[in-house]
């Protein structure tokens, strides 16, 4: 039986916007295809993980105060994380985790929280604490050469700059900054994005892109995933794409 090993980072802290759903959806789509999902968790105080032992690493968004507590912890694994990314381990990073993997996060009062510096982007909060990019968002991306619309919900005060390769083009909503045309950061084995929803709940194509990447790498193959019954997902996508893009 094939299996994928998933590391879920700080499940008790980075769990503000239902991001745990992404793990449940991955597990669901793996198990429906007879692939075992092994999910391990890491949080402050646990044994040091080796990121190279996993096929997929996931981290979500958290409350500001708690996010500060874990930044100091995560930075200890900086070299190991960089190594795992270079080796092709897939990293799915949402919201707070997206920011933490950049150079730094500068808060509204000018305080700088150093990031992991795995990527060159950086994030700065707007001076007005009350102003945040909040709302439904739709972006367009390309997954293995195929154009795909991604639906989610953004809620962030931080504005992210210096993105070399965005996750997608914004069709509706804000993106990396207020009124931006680009959203997130993307490389073959990394998706870093502000999209909650949870992200994978309305985007089965994206979930399958991640699953295929991990299986192909692990089993050195070019797998065609068995299709699943996505009736609800398709109804939901049609409804929301229509509502937000065509105003119906």
């Amino acid at each position: 039986m094939k299996e994928l090993k998933i590391l879920y980072l700080y499940p008790d802290i980075l769990e503000l916007y239902g991001d745990f759903g992404n793990i449940q959806i991955l597990k669901y789509r793996l198990e429906k295809r007879g692939i075992k999902a092994i999910i391990e968790q890491y949080s402050i105080g646990d044994n040091t993980p080796n990121f190279n032992n996993y096929d997929l690493v996931f981290a979500g968004g958290g409350a500001d105060q708690e996010q500060g507590i874990l930044a100091d912890d995560l930075i200890k694994y900086k070299d190991n994380i960089k190594d795992a990314i270079n080796n092709g381990v897939f990293f799915l990073l949402i919201c707070g985790a997206y920011q933490l993997f950049g150079k730094y996060y500068k808060s509204a009062d000018g305080n700088i929280v150093p990031g992991l510096e795995v990527f060159d982007y950086y994030t700065e909060a707007i001076n007005d604490r009350k102003k945040r990019c909040i709302g439904n968002i739709i972006i367009e991306t390309s997954l293995n050469g195929k154009t795909s619309k991604i639906i989610g919900f953004e809620n962030h005060g931080g504005q992210t700059f210096n993105i070399s390769n965005p996750f997608g083009k914004v069709l509706f909503g804000n993106g990396n900054k207020f009124g931006d045309t680009e959203e997130g950061y993307f490389q073959k084995n990394v998706i870093a994005t502000y999209l909650h929803g949870p992200l994978l709940s309305k985007n089965p194509e994206l979930t399958d892109y991640i699953i295929k990447h991990c299986l192909d790498r692990k089993y050195d193959e070019d797998i065609t995933l068995e299709p699943l019954d996505d009736t609800f997902e398709e109804l939901c996508r049609n409804q929301l794409l229509n509502k937000f893009l065509n105003n119906n």
Binding site: D12, I13, E15, L16, Y17, G18, D19, F20, G21, Q24, I25, Y28, G45, A63, D64, Q65, E66, I69, I134, G135, N136, F153, N155, H196, G197, P198, S201, K202, D229, T231, F232, E233, L235, C236, Q239
Partner: protein, 438 residues
């Protein structure tokens, strides 16, 4: 003079609204507040003002306190319908005051939105504040829970009235330290009930000590992050308890406080917390125990908060759930019932609900007890259908309908017991649609 005219105008407007058959809601207060934001100062109130705030349970607790006082023969003015922002409270005052701003009552009892406590009680003298709980709720509208707590904490720094606090919520209990000079702090707590757990079962807040950032340790969790906790480092949480509920028996809908048995119409753990808060409050105002017992045994709230109905002879339970904890406690009640049942979940994403529906992924659908079919509806019927499917519930037994009328029609195709969970703006339309079948 200005305030006199504002009140006169609002009185006339209120009569006009009544003739038109309109309720008014926040309307009168909104106009008056825009006219003069200092108008709260004009009211002459000679009785205690009691306020309830929380994320969940405000309406239930506010109404129960009012009912207890009324059972004791007191005259109570209250925002029973749940208009709980400054404009709603102002509307209630405007309807009940004389032209000179005099208010004749024995008690004013208000539920107040978490964010509006400092606004409303800047100019109204608050006698007692009850704080029940803080949960994540409509994050896209309200922001993080911490921001709300800090606002109330700031207000309490200069507050010397009675403060009735849930000792079992680390985010509420901390408010007892806001003003070290206030000697009128009263904590309430509840002993573990049958389904209390050693580990947190549902999404919750307040995992770290707000004073020293150490991870809190729990003796037990009742639901979400509500339970007996203590900080292993600074011992925060070790409070002297004013009222403790013991011998919780949800099946027979009763519990005890100080050895006295209270029977209620409700069977949920969170209502035990609400009612211990009510008992704490009534005790502070020397209401006779027998009267509290009598009032609680009769108290019901027919507005979709754990409302029990019979529709075409089919038992139906409707409950409002506007955030993860509200939904999880609703599912607890469902799971604690072994009968076969069908569930209708209605999810809207209107402005008052919050546009973000990610919170449904914090609902624990993983171990539904004897549920044979689930119908989903509301503007986000498909989102909730996906959520439930992913938890492992057979997709073939899930029926999504965007149209609420269709959903209710299909729900009552069978005569199996119904549980209905609806969020904020979907609750009354759902209730109306169901009552049409009665």
């Amino acid at each position: 003079m200005k305030n006199f005219f504002i009140i006169l105008a609002m009185k006339i407007l209120n009569i006009a609204l009544k003739i038109l058959g309109k309720q008014g809601g926040n309307f009168l207060g909104k106009i008056a507040f825009d006219w003069n934001s200092q108008i709260f100062r004009y009211f002459k109130i000679n009785c205690p003002i009691i306020a309830v705030t929380a994320t969940n349970g405000k309406t239930m607790t506010n109404n129960a306190i009012g009912y207890v006082f009324e059972t004791a023969g007191k005259k109570v003015i209250s925002n029973k319908e749940g208009n709980n922002m400054e404009t709603g409270i102002l509307s209630t005052l405007l309807k009940h005051c004389s032209l000179t701003g005099k208010i004749k009552a024995d008690y004013l009892v208000f539920e107040v939105d978490e964010g509006y406590v400092p606004v409303v009680f800047k100019d109204l003298k608050l006698d007692t504040l009850i704080v029940l709980d803080f949960f994540r709720d409509q994050l896209d509208r309200n922001g993080e829970v911490e921001t709300l707590i800090l606002k109330i904490n700031e207000f309490l720094k200069t507050f010397n009235g009675n403060l009735i606090l849930n000792s079992d919520d680390p985010n509420v209990s901390r408010l007892g330290k806001a003003n070290p000079d206030n000697e009128n702090i009263y904590y309430f707590s509840v002993e573990p009930y049958q389904y209390a757990t050693k580990n947190m079962k549902e999404a919750g807040e307040g995992k770290f000590c707000p004073f020293c950032n150490t991870r809190l340790e729990y003796e037990y969790y009742q639901y979400s992050h509500i339970g007996k906790f203590e900080c292993p480092n600074c011992h925060y949480g070790n409070n002297e308890i004013y009222k403790l509920a013991t011998n919780i028996d949800l099946k027979n809908r009763c519990f005890e406080v100080n050895g006295i048995k209270y029977t209620t119409k409700f069977n949920s753990i969170y209502n035990i917390y609400n009612f211990v808060a009510v008992i704490s409050c009534a005790s502070l105002y020397n209401i006779d125990t027998k009267i509290i017992q009598k009032a609680l045994s009769n108290f019901v709230l027919n507005n979709g908060r754990l409302e029990e109905l019979e529709i075409k002879g089919i038992p139906t339970i409707i409950n409002l759930a506007k955030n993860p904890t509200g939904s999880n406690v609703s599912l607890r009640i469902l799971n604690e019932d072994d009968d076969e049942k069908e569930l209708l979940f209605v999810l809207n994403d209107n402005l008052a609900d919050g546009h973000d529906v990610s919170w449904i992924w914090d609902i624990d659908f993983s171990s539904l007890n004897n549920v044979s079919r689930i119908i989903t509806s509301g503007t986000r019927a498909y989102d909730i259908a996906i959520r439930i499917k992913t938890s492992g519930f057979d997709a073939k037994k899930i029926e999504p309908y965007l149209n609420l009328h269709e959903a209710v029609k299909h729900l009552y195709k069978t005569d199996i017991k119904k549980y209905v969970i609806a969020n904020y703006t979907s609750l009354q339309p759902t209730r109306t649609e169901i009552l049409k079948l009665k």
